[in-house]
Amino acid sequence: MSTFWLITAVLILMGFAYQFGATRSRSIASSSGQKLHSLPTHYGMFVALWCGVPALAVLLIFAVFEGTLIRAAVVSSLPETVQSLSAEQLNIVFNRIASLSSGFGIAGKAEPFEIAAAASMSRLKDISLLASIAVMAAVAIGGLLFAMRQLSPVLRARNQVERFVIAMLVFCSAVAIITTIAIVVSLFGEAMRFFSFVHPLDFFFGTLWNPRFATVGHGAMGGYGLLPLLWGTVLITIIAMLVAVPVGLMTAIYMAEYASPHLRSFAKPVIEVLAGIPTIVYGFFALTVIGPFLANAGAMLGIEVRATSALTAGLVMGIMIIPFVSSLSDDIITQVPRSLRDGSLGLGATHSETIRRVVLPAALPGIVGAFLLAVSRAVGETMIVVLAAGNAPVLQGNPLQAISTITVTIVNQLTGDIDFTSPQSLVAFALGLTLFTITLVLNILALYIVRKYREQYE
């Protein structure tokens, strides 16, 4: 909470600094009679930035290092016997001390050394807060004075302020790169830790998925085979695409080629509503409506259909993807040049022949790209499968039975208490890495195909 107030204080200070700078530059201009290089507002911003940015940088540095330093100081003050504990136990002790010092109670009776450490931790925290305020104030005032001394009619304030603005813009666009790097590094790092427990070959080509919940050495590890999960993902994706591709593509064709503007303006947004519905809602719909419906229908035909099965999940996922396929294909079909259609119609082809023999072949690369993007959506979809696929990680080909996927298993292995030392949790990152790679390849392939197609007509 104190961080919030400190930031507010700095912002208020920056407001004052802006006023000082603007007023001062005006008075300089009028007293010296010289023309200012920049507008007074630029001088104001120049002073405000010099005042606020260093102070915020100090705050950031404190926020990053404070916890580690306090922890080190507290741990070094603990008795020898405690310090020699294993890292995990030391962590537990430290968490007890931290919750003591923050005023929350702890389970069990506090040891005298814990109380002493908690007291010293509170003291350290207070000192650190006061120190950060002092340093920030010093830096802010120093920056303010420095910038005020710099003010003169020849100071190129606008250029300097704009350079800072552009630097911030570059930083903001680099966030996308930082995110990608963070994804790759974190998935890769944790997956490597998992592979120190389980050999990569056993993971990627294992056919048994049975992670036991006891961590007892390498011998009794249970099975960490990816193949049953990968197969589940593939099966559900196939079912989803069998629903989404015909319905989505025909919808797109009808909307683009046949529908009256009236129908189009009504039906297109309504179908696109399907794209905006959260996936948890689809999951619930699959679980309570589609699943029981399929089970009853199967019972009437004398076939055993599980209510939560690959079919249920795939069907509902297909519904979810319909608008995705239809709006992407619609865009691509309408992009096909008019002249191609006119040529075909002029030669006497019917409307549907024109679509099938001329428009679709011309649009095919784009449509395939759209399908690949849809496949990548289906592969990464989580909540529908968590609720409706039945969670049975076995290699079996019957879509009427329960099945499990990569995403479901990630959720199962990482929900609740996260323990970053056991293979049971870490396997989620290996699975995530697999998922990320699959979707990345699909996306790059799709973008490549779409881009290649575009070159043909532009």
């Binding site: 704009e162 666009s173 064709i253 009808y254 609740g416 990152f429």
Partner: protein
Amino acid sequence: MTVVSNQLPPLPSNADQGAKSPYSAVHSSLSKRHASERRFKALGLAAVLIGLGFVAILFTSILSKGLPAFWQATFTLPVTIDAKALSIEPYPQQNSGQTDAEYAKEVADWQASLAGANWARLIQNALLVYLPPEAARRSRDVQRLVTSSERFQLRELVAAQPDIIGQTVTLRMLADANVDVWIKGGIDRTLSDRQLPLTPAQRQYIEILQDRGVLNQSFSTALFTNVDSRSSPASAGLAGALVGSLFMMLIVIVLSVPIGVAAAIYLEEFAPKNRFTDLIEVNINNLAAVPSIVFGLLGAAVFISWLRLPLSAPLVGGLVLTLMTLPTVIIATRATLRAIPPSIRQAAIGLGASRVQTVTHHVLPLALPGILTGAIIGVAQALGETAPLLLIGMSAFVANIPSTPLDQSTALPVQIFLWQGNELRNFFESRTSAAIIVLLALMIVLNGLAIYLRRRFERRW
């Protein structure tokens, strides 16, 4: 080019059929081709109707299940706050010899003593007024008609206003979840007594209480004002989840809008064409298609494991959702910026504005409606996201409304996930649908706002 002849080729007459005219093949297949044309068109229409049908089924099923849950079986009872039935001491009065501190301690002791009082008894007495005399012997059956959290509500009421002891107040109390489902017909009445969650006596009492007008369906404010509850399902509400989601959305707005807009401005207005900007472009396009659960893994590894931020905190959820919505905001903003004609920029630069001034004074104000629309759509997407939140511990049961973004909390879609898995299926199926209706309503409002902004401020150049 001159028109040589605008006459169509002569139609083949019957006499020509023997001699192979080039048109006979066309004519003989024509009806087939027209039939296939009709089939194709019908297929397209069928696809559109299937799509529309799915929308209709989805909404009807959720509305039909969820709307009844907004009304809940509620008792409206005069309850006598009888100190004797409760066996509590009267509220302490300050004696002349007492110091303020002593008196405050006495009051605190009295309030603590309320915890041991028999509040269920009080509710039971209020119900017994309407029930046949033999009901007095079936106190368990009677007490269980009212959901258990009402006892604590009553205790809070008395602790806050001690002067109502001895008075009779009319209170609204939620009925037990099973009573609610029974009244709504959600329980199969042909089941045997052992399978039913209500005893025969309870079922009889429900009917009596309904006839006397004490037990009614009334609008369930509990759904919006209470937090989730395990011991007392009838009073489980969405307040905690709504506040948690609100915190996360605030974080998403505060972070993803400025960062996303800044990134889009840089890429559209300033970036030179080089490998660095190409790399950024590729990254943004890929991030837009990365499955949301991968962002959850990122959050678990980076924010929870490395930076040691607390589990289940809206702060972490907000950060993860920010990273997830950033590509949406960037792509929408870029599209808006691209739609602004270059002549505006050229005019500003021609008048001596710097490029930063051009952007801040001219381009951004014109792009504002489009940026807002993109931001709202991004926030709506983040609001409905569930999977990444499960991985950072937000699926934990939380019994308090979070007061800061660092407190334990859950979120609206996660609450839906938790409720659908509740054992009390009959009750929570409609409760979950009601939560879904709330979520969808919020999303419709957000998207409606985006459409309104687009319509209101859209400019064609």
